[in-house]
């Protein structure tokens, strides 16, 4: 033994250091640092829990492995909801956006949807800056190979180095990494994503714990060297000059320069090339068994299923300001490399294009989400939460929404509070989680506005009214922001009240002014609200009549006008919601014994017992449920309630009286 070693030994003994590098017990360990993992770990740490975020590769925290874009139909609403609850994806996307577009502007506000193109590298940097600066959040690089379970309770995780990390709650957000296998033509290899290791042991550990796993497939198109694309003659797609941001909490400090995307098309020659190569397609030769998303089919699927189409769109989307990589949106494929290269040559503008990365399909394990409670905790394994692609979803926004909810509910579980369950009339996140845990998935689940029954209520513009209070109560919205929200909300309500009471009279002067402004005249006193409901009457017209409210913030005008113009339709949905609520608010006791209800068919009993719905409403949405079964359940639940709070004598009397 040399002196240096002895000195070191003495030093460690002096400090009491043992030969265990990670002997801390965390409140929460989040495994996976994608969009779900970031939201989950940030929420937990911000709520004060000692949190670890474990990733296979620290450099890849906050990576966008598919298209470099956030938002779009249904998804932008989720981003706004996350932002209102105190999550991050909206702010990250705002700060790293290189193109902003409001989709569906021509339709009503319920379906206006913001979408950004993002600088991928900038997004990663911003995400990493966020997690590395978050107190109480430890970032660790390692691979999780197993979860630790004692008495049906998850107690921690085991890493590839054989180490155990104790945790009171484990949140798994492994994305496509569980037994990931990628396909490029007939070539296939184990990988979480192209060029990244898969997570090999975790699936087996989940199987051992009694969970049922399935296999899904998704894909991503090739990336092209932008310098080899001939943009001349291609249609440019600029962003909107005037656009809102995702976040409710102000514009990003530095915004990035804005870019244009370009549009080109496949053609008959491209399709011919594809048809001739199907014998080397892993999809068509049966090598891929996982089910891919129908809304995001590979180009070979599109060509085969819609043989009449002569062309399909390709959006060319830059992946960043410094990168030359262009994402070829629309030609995701698992065909071999040489076919991909030939396809590009057949496409206008891409004749000389050089691929940087080929398109590939990835197949991965997922946990059928009907095994989860609406809190995203596993029904049969306490303290184990799952979020993101492991639950069968697809998309950064969907993952982030689940991650945030899993994080909030991990905290609530540790503090013995009721879980936060957003309902279908409250948030797209609620629609998504209810769909997942009630119906399960048979393809990667993506949000669409048509999935929401109460779409007119779940708008981007009112995400704050719907959810900021919940975010504040959870400790994820700072009180100054909450105060700001409340102030603005009050201003909005006051203004609505003013417009309801203040009137415009059909005086000579007013009528003359209306004619001058080419507004339709009035024959009686009309409230300002009634006037604003007219399509040609805008808020700025009020100034002309001296009936404006200079104190009202101009950035609230749009929201105000939405409330006014859609009031009738919104009210109708509110009525629908009150009917919906009746079943939704009938809570089924957690220990309800479905199997012994003789008046239910065996099939229905099994289904109910498998899903264990929390409410009569959720029960009614289980596939195969009948109205009769619901009325039986309703009776039995009320019986159980009566039994609990029984004042038997009075009831017997009443019953006797009735007979």
């Amino acid at each position: 033994m040399n002196a240096a070693y002895l000195a070191y030994f003495a030093y460690t003994e002096h400090r009491g250091i043992e030969y265990m590098s990670r002997n801390v017990k965390y409140d929460v360990v989040v495994a996976g640092a994608g969009h779900a993992g970031i939201e989950a770990s940030m929420a937990c740490a911000r709520m004060g829990l000692n949190t670890a975020l474990i990733t296979l590769n620290v450099e890849m925290i906050g990576h966008m492995p598919c298209n470099p874009a956030v938002g779009g139909l249904g998804k932008s609403q989720i981003v706004r909801e996350i932002d209102a609850l105190g999550g991050w994806i909206g702010r990250l996307a705002d700060a790293t956006g290189i193109q902003f577009r409001m989709l569906n502007r021509k339709k009503g506000p319920a379906v206006w949807s913001l979408r950004t193109q993002n600088d991928k590298a900038a997004y990663r940097r911003a995400a990493q800056k966020l997690v590395f600066n978050q107190p109480k959040l430890d970032v660790l690089q390692d691979e999780i190979t197993a979860i630790q379970i004692k008495n049906r309770q998850c107690t921690g995780i085991v890493t590839s180095l054989g180490e155990t990390i104790q945790a009171r709650i484990v949140v798994l957000t492994p994305g496509t990494f569980m037994n990931g296998r990628i396909f490029i033509g007939l070539h296939s290899q184990e990988a979480g994503r192209l060029g990244e290791f898969p997570a090999r042991g975790l699936s087996q550990s989940l199987l051992n714990a009694g969970l049922t796993l399935g296999r899904l497939k998704t894909g991503t198109p090739c990336r092209i060297d932008g310098r080899t694309i001939d943009l001349s003659g291609l249609e440019a797609q600029p962003g909107d000059a005037d656009h809102p941001y995702f976040s409710h909490w102000g514009e990003p400090i530095d915004s990035l320069p804005q870019i244009e995307c370009y549009l080109t098309y496949t053609n008959r020659l491209t399709h011919e090339l594809i048809r001739n190569s199907l014998d080397r397609s892993p999809l068509y030769t049966g090598k891929i068994t996982g089910i891919g998303p129908r809304y995001c089919p590979s180009i070979e699927d599109k060509v085969m299923r819609f043989p009449d189409r002569d062309q399909h769109q390709i959006f060319l989307e830059p992946e960043g300001l410094d990168s030359k990589e262009i994402y070829a949106n629309g030609i995701s494929t698992s065909l071999p490399y040489d076919v991909q290269a030939a396809m590009l040559q057949s496409i206008r503008g891409l004749e000389n294009a050089r691929m940087i990365r080929p398109a590939y399909a990835v197949e991965y394990d997922f946990v059928q989400p009907t095994q989860l409670k609406p809190s995203l905790e596993c029904r049969e394994i306490d303290n184990l939460f799952l979020a993101g692609q492991i639950n069968g979803t697809s998309g950064y926004e969907e993952a982030a929404g689940q991650g945030l909810l899993a994080g909030i509910n991990a905290f609530r579980k540790l503090h013995e509070q009721n879980p936060l369950i957003l309902t279908r009339d409250q948030a797209y996140i609620g629609v998504m989680i209810d769909d997942l845990v009630t119906r399960g998935v048979d393809e990667p689940y993506r949000m669409f506005t048509s999935r929401a029954e109460y779409r007119l209520l779940l708008r981007s513009d009112n995400a704050d009214t719907r959810l900021v209070k919940t975010g504040f109560d959870s400790g994820l919205i700072e009180s100054d922001r909450y105060d700001l929200f409340q102030r603005r909300n009050r201003l909005l309500n006051d203004e609505l009240k003013r417009l309801e009471t203040q009137r415009l009279s059909p005086t000579k002067d007013n009528l003359a002014l209306m004619e001058k402004l080419s507004l339709q005249g009035i024959h009686r006193h009309m409230t300002l609200k009634e006037l604003l409901r007219r399509p040609e009457f805008s808020y700025s017209h009020l100034i002309e009549f001296g009936l404006d409210n200079p104190g009202f913030p101009s950035d609230l005008i749009e929201k105000l006008m939405i409330e006014i113009r859609y009031e009738g339709y919104i009210e109708r949905q509110v009525e629908d919601v009150s009917r919906f609520r009746k079943l939704e608010d009938t809570i089924i006791p957690a220990n309800f014994d479905y199997l012994s209800v003789d008046s239910l068919s065996n099939e229905v009993r099994q289904k109910l017992n498998a899903i264990r719905p929390v409410s009569l409403g959720q029960a009614s949405r289980i596939p195969g449920m009948t109205p009769a079964a619901i009325s039986v359940l309703s009776v039995l639940i009320h019986r159980a309630q009566i039994r609990r709070g029984s004042s038997g004598a009075q009831e017997k009397q009443d019953a006797a009286l009735d007979q």
């Binding site: 339709k107 007119l456 019953a655």
Partner: protein, 460 residues
């Protein structure tokens, strides 16, 4: 707050009496609209007492049948809410028309087991019964489902499915427009409007077929007419087998338009005993005469009674001129008193406007059997609905669902024409789907996204 529900709570089919039960906040209001007590105003109705009287159709003020009414004031009722029971004569037709009126007055057809469910919800249940009641509820729903299926085999299922498919197609088109704005799928607004119109027509046809079935099942109206004191009331009593119209020899005794119902041949017949049509100065009679004339105009068949003891065909001529399409049957009454005047009989029998001639005595029941046979044949022949239009028998719940759907599709089509945004129209289509699904017993919403992905090339 619950709404008001109604259902026939006695077994289907013919019985001595049937009971229609209602429960909910509008109970008292509904009673007051349709119930005419024998002796005093219905506003003085006291709970838990049985009242005897008539029920009327408040829209036409036509009295339908005798009933007994009991009002139960909540919470001292089976359901714990305000509730009532109507006991009427046990004919399916009478029961059905009572239920229809109750629903027109604002009640909603009850779901299977809903009364019991409300009783549970309001804590009105003996605990030991709960499980048993749950099982009954299940079997009631099952029966309702089977009944619906049976009816569906009779032709309702296919058109309803077709309409539901049209609605789904519309939703698919509107949702593509909303959820996939960048997919370069062009939507021809003209063809959308066309589909809206087609769905509306399909629904209208179905509702029409339903009401035709209803008219068929409801009844053909037969009016007894004739000169004062010709023996109309006696004939009425003979035909209905009841002693209801007041029979006396004093002229103009029948001052009220009385109705009774009777069933022959699976078809309901309403006999309207009109007051004598004659010049009158009495206000009561004038009102009665007005109603008689109205009844003549709407009748499917008219029995014109000739007073055999004092035959006079002057009024017959007036009556024939008053009616346009109804068949007229002559009943030469009082053959017990004197034989018919053969020359007059011949004159009537050869009149092309007369559909049938019988003679007999209402007092002794002579000729009644023949009269019934004749009427039955006449009505069978003259059923325009059977000849020209499809007829569907449907329950009140089914018709209710179709009518609501029709109103919704009209509304939605108008919104579409007015250029209202599609997301405001979709909720109406969703409700229609829900209504149609309830007819088919299929509560799962259609897989709109599945239809979109199957039919359109979606996805970048």
């Amino acid at each position: 707050m619950n709404d008001t529900i109604a259902a026939v709570s006695t077994p289907e089919g013919r019985g001595g009496i049937s009971i229609v039960r209602i429960s909910g906040p509008d109970t008292l209001q509904i009673i007051q609209k349709l119930f005419i007590p024998r002796s005093f105003s219905s506003s003085k109705l006291r709970p838990w007492k049985v009242y005897c009287g008539y029920f009327q159709d408040p829209d036409t003020s036509i009295i339908q049948d005798e009933i007994l009414v009991t009002f139960f004031k909540g919470p001292q009722s089976y359901t714990g809410e305000d509730a009532a029971e109507f006991s009427c004569h046990g004919s399916p037709f009478i029961t059905q028309s009572l239920l229809e009126i109750v629903i027109r007055m604002g009640a909603r057809p009850a779901d299977p087991g809903e009364f019991t469910r409300r009783a549970f919800e309001n804590g009105k249940i003996d605990l030991s019964q709960a499980e048993a009641v749950a099982m009954i509820t299940a079997s009631e729903s099952e029966n309702a489902r089977r009944a619906a299926l049976n009816m569906l085999q009779g032709g309702l299922a296919r058109p309803v499915r077709n309409i539901r498919d049209s609605i789904t197609r519309l939703r698919v088109i509107l949702e593509i427009d909303l959820d996939f704005p960048e997919e370069a799928i062009t939507i021809d607004s003209q063809s959308i409007l066309q589909t809206f119109l087609e769905a509306e027509i399909q629904l209208q046809n179905l509702v029409d077929a339903g009401s035709a079935g209803d008219r068929l099942r409801q009844c053909r109206q037969i009016v007894i007419s004739g000169k004062v004191n010709a023996g109309k009331s006696s004939l009425f009593n003979q035909l209905t087998g009841r002693d209801r119209a007041i029979v006396s020899t004093e002229e103009g005794t029948t001052r009220d338009l009385l109705e009774a119902m009777s069933e022959w041949h699976g078809c309901r017949l309403t006999l309207v005993d009109t007051a004598g049509i004659r010049e009158s100065h009495s206000a009561a009679e004038t009102e009665a005469v007005k109603r008689s004339l109205a009844a003549l105009e709407t009748a499917d068949a008219i029995i014109y009674v000739i007073d055999g003891a004092n035959p006079d065909v002057g009024l017959l001529e007036t009556t024939i001129k008053l009616v346009r399409e109804s068949a007229i049957v002559i009943f030469w009454n009082k053959t017990d008193i004197c034989p018919p005047d053969q020359s007059l009989v011949e004159q009537i029998q050869t009149d092309p406007r007369i559909s049938g001639f019988l003679q007999g005595s209402a007092r002794f029941g002579w000729g009644i059997v023949e009269l019934r046979t004749l009427l039955r044949d006449l009505l069978d022949q003259s059923n325009p609905d059977i000849r020209e239009n499809p007829i569907l028998m449907m329950t009140i719940r089914q018709r209710n669902a179709l009518e609501q759907s029709l109103a919704l599709i009209r509304d939605a089509g108008k919104m579409m024409r007015d250029g209202i945004e599609p997301e405001c129209i979709v909720p109406s289509l969703r409700s229609i789907d829900h209504h149609l699904g309830s007819i088919l017993g299929d509560t799962l919403p259609p897989d709109i996204l599945g239809e979109i992905f199957a039919g359109f090339c979606i996805g970048k």
